[in-house]
Amino acid sequence: MSSLTRTQRIWKHLRREWQLYVMLLPTIVWLVVFLYKPMYGLQVAFKDYSIFRGVAASPWIGFEHFETLFGNDQFIRALRNTVIISFYSLLIGFPVPILLALMFNEVLNQTFKKSAQTIVYLPHFISSVIIAGIVITAFSPSAGVVNTVIGWFGLEPIYFLTKPEWFRPIFIGTGIWQEAGFQSIVYLAAIAGVSPTLYESAVIDGASRWQMMWKVTIPSIMTTIIIMLIIRIGNVLEVSFEMIILLYQPATYETADVVNTFIYRQGIQAGQYDFAAAAGLFNAVVAFVLVMTANSLSKRYSRTSLW
């Protein structure tokens, strides 16, 4: 081996494992085209950008857009809403798929298990537009199923979608309903990977099903849980804003407007791409800091980390 140079070794390795690299290629191309190339455009956050003049020819203006951004009360509010919505989605939404996976794992009747799984996966495959339509109809004050039920108890119908205090519960609930089932697949896979010998020895030691879940299953999938948590924390600022756009109203901006919807309205719709890029860049920096922090904390305390 020592007779080979470094280049020769790499070349030999590539020849032997070329199939793996070919499989990797599409992802690399995708990353370069859709994530690295657009980074060139990030500079418009520091420029007075004109779409016609183009990125390179627009003049530099320094941090002016960031000053405007932080002088804008609506941006500050959007930032706060983003953090609150994400925090609650994480707090309430994160454990749900784990619970679902544990529950599916305990179901013995295969027919029941398969049909229940199909039912909870299904919403994931429905387009957000349709989900929003279902939500709007379900919460309508005149014809909605929710208000009909409320009516049975003799209460006045509530116009949910124009009430700022109802927006977050509806949004977070919808998100859980839509995604929890599908997210549980990752945990189910992790559970399937737990060695049966662990359960066998637990049975011999006289463990109950409940104890097996707590002492065997959960510790075995802890790594997966932590990795998923770190990824979620990195996406904290990426609330599914297409759903918010479909559900919010000026009347609910107060609690519903998040950074991405703010960028969409002020930047894309009003055509201020430079300003929108500044807001987006800020968003990305915050997300980066969050991932780094979560990862290093996790590394220190649980020895599990993304890298």
């Binding site: 405007t68 009360d73 000026p250 009347a251 719709q269 009003a270 201020q272 791409y273």
Partner: protein, 524 residues
């Protein structure tokens, strides 16, 4: 190009000659612009016909007549134009793609071309029109207000606008048969409107034993805000929602006026009492269809022609009569219809800077201002959509009696396209307006309720910057408070001083200042 110019000029001359003589089949060749067929690319996006179609019969006839055919090159076509920001994403996408087609047609084109035209993205049209577009020039000379309304801050025109004909747009409509059932008169004042709406709510005019009537409804929720005019407020200065307005030669914003405050306060009261559709903010565009055909809706503010069309429901709902009534007098006794058809739209088409045939293109634009071109743009193809009767284009029975509205049928063949610069002919609409619409228009004509509209301004780059930085946030804040007040999550009377202070802090005065300086430059 140079080779063609003298010939084309000659041919255009012939076109005018034959126009004055009355065009007939013989004139076909006289409208020809080029000898060899010429193909130009076009971007065309509009909410109603998202993308240009080369197979539209109108386009085929136009290219047979002129020798110029258009090829679709539309980027980012979609069905949405944002009524709030007045900009279209498709245009931005097109510009960002770096490829500007020869012709760019769109709704909401004006601000876009007036911003990027001076930067060089679109050709200034003034000289081209003067030299090569006699019909268009004659038209602009006759109506000089068009040039001042559409010119950019540098004084150039960058697009040929769509020019609607006819004055009337929306009107107040009410169920006359419900009024009869309850023994009420047509409301003449804001107080009477309130009484009528309350009676609709409480006295079961549809007679089904349930209080399910929706007294006032609207397809677009800003039509609820429109009612602030009954308390001497304003909701918009033009046919675009939430627009600025001109008061005594100065630009102001309607949502910062005391009449607006009083109006919103009263509308909130109406909303709470159930005189207004509880779902007005989310019901959306099918509100009119649904509430009228279910025999639930009582009153609205909507377009003359299409709303009058619902009287066909008298087949299924006994006695159904939904007719226009004169704008009720406001608290100070003013009868005003705030909406009218704006005479010059921000829609139309422009010439991209990479167009290698600007002269032929402007001649092509001019073609749509010839008699024949205008008829084609308004009525569709002869023999298919219309026939000539006593020298007038009259729609065929098949078009008039179809289940599909006439305007939608015309969009389907490439006529009445607002993303094309042309002068609408009101006769097109008159033919399919039913007697209720015509009666209503006569009523509004008699009372002379319309007011002048704000036709928009063009900013310099510096003014644009001030406007862009502050206005989107201010508008968002205004709309947010507006809905909150109407829905009762806040009291407009209590909040008003804080609201005005916030607007001030957000830079409303700066926006008004740049609007005013642009306005003075443009219209004085």
């Amino acid at each position: 190009m140079n080779r063609l110019t003298p010939l084309a000029a000659l041919l255009t001359g012939t076109a005018i000659g034959s126009l004055t003589l009355g065009v007939s089949a013989v004139a076909d060749d006289s409208l020809r612009i080029v000898d060899e067929p010429l193909e130009l690319t076009i971007q065309m996006n509009h909410a109603r016909y998202p993308v240009y179609d080369e197979d539209w019969p109108v386009e085929k006839e136009a290219s047979a007549l002129t020798g110029i055919s258009l090829k679709n090159d539309t980027v980012g076509a979609n069905m949405r134009t944002d009524e709030n920001s007045g900009k279209t994403e498709a245009l931005n996408l097109m510009l960002a793609s770096g490829n500007i087609p020869d012709i760019v047609g769109s709704s909401r084109l004006k601000d876009f071309v007036n911003q990027y035209g001076p930067e060089g993205a679109f050709l200034p049209l003034n000289e081209l029109i003067d030299e090569h577009a006699p019909n268009l020039k004659a038209f602009l000379d006759e109506r000089p207000e068009i040039a001042s309304a559409i010119s950019a801050a540098d004084g150039n025109m960058y697009y040929v606008p769509y020019l609607p004909d006819g004055k009337y747009g929306r009107a107040y409509f009410i169920r006359y048969d419900w009024l009869d059932t309850l023994g009420l008169e047509v409301p003449e004042t804001v107080e009477e409107v309130e009484e009528v709406l309350r009676a609709f709510k409480t006295q079961d005019p549809n007679g089904n034993g349930q209080a399910d009537e929706v007294p006032y409804f609207a397809r677009q929720w800003p039509e609820l805000i429109r009612l602030v005019t009954l308390w001497d407020g304003r909701s918009s200065g033009s046919d675009t929602y939430h627009d600025f307005m001109v008061v005594d030669g100065k630009i102001e914003h309607p949502y910062a006026g005391e009449g607006y405050r009083d109006g919103i306060s009263n509308l909130a009261r109406w909303y709470e009492e159930g005189l207004v559709d509880a779902e007005v903010f989310t019901r959306g565009s099918s509100a009119r269809e649904y509430l009228l055909s279910e025999n639930l809706g009582g009153m609205t503010h909507d377009w003359f022609a299409s709303t009058s069309g619902y009287n066909r429901l008298s087949d299924s709902i006994e006695g159904f009569e939904f007719k226009a009534f004169a704008p009720p007098a406001s608290v100070s006794g003013v009868r005003m219809e705030e909406h009218r058809r704006i005479p010059i739209k921000p829609d139309g088409w422009a010439i991209g800077h990479t167009n290698e045939h600007p002269v032929e293109t402007i001649k092509y634009f001019d073609f749509w201002f010839t008699e024949k071109g205008r008829r084609l743009a308004n009525f569709g193809a002869e023999g298919e959509q219309y026939t000539m009767v006593d020298g007038e284009p009259i729609f065929t029975d098949a078009v008039l009696n179809s289940d599909e509205p006439v305007n939608a049928q015309l969009w389907g063949v490439g006529a009445q396209l607002q993303a094309r610069g042309f002068f609408q002919d009101y006769n097109y609409e008159k033919q399919w307006s039913n007697k209720y619409a015509l009666e209503g228009i006569a009523l509004y004509d008699e009372g002379d309720y319309l007011i002048d509209q704000f036709l928009g301004v063009a900013f310099t780059a510096d003014e644009q910057k001030v406007y862009d930085r502050s206005w989107p946030s201010i508008r968002d804040y205004m709309l947010e408070r507006q809905q909150a007040w109407v829905l009762g999550t806040g009291d407009v009377m209590e909040d008003w001083d804080a609201y005005m202070a916030t607007l001030d802090g957000m830079g409303l005065q700066d926006v008004l200042d740049v609007m005013n300086s642009a306005y003075e430059r443009q219209y004085d």
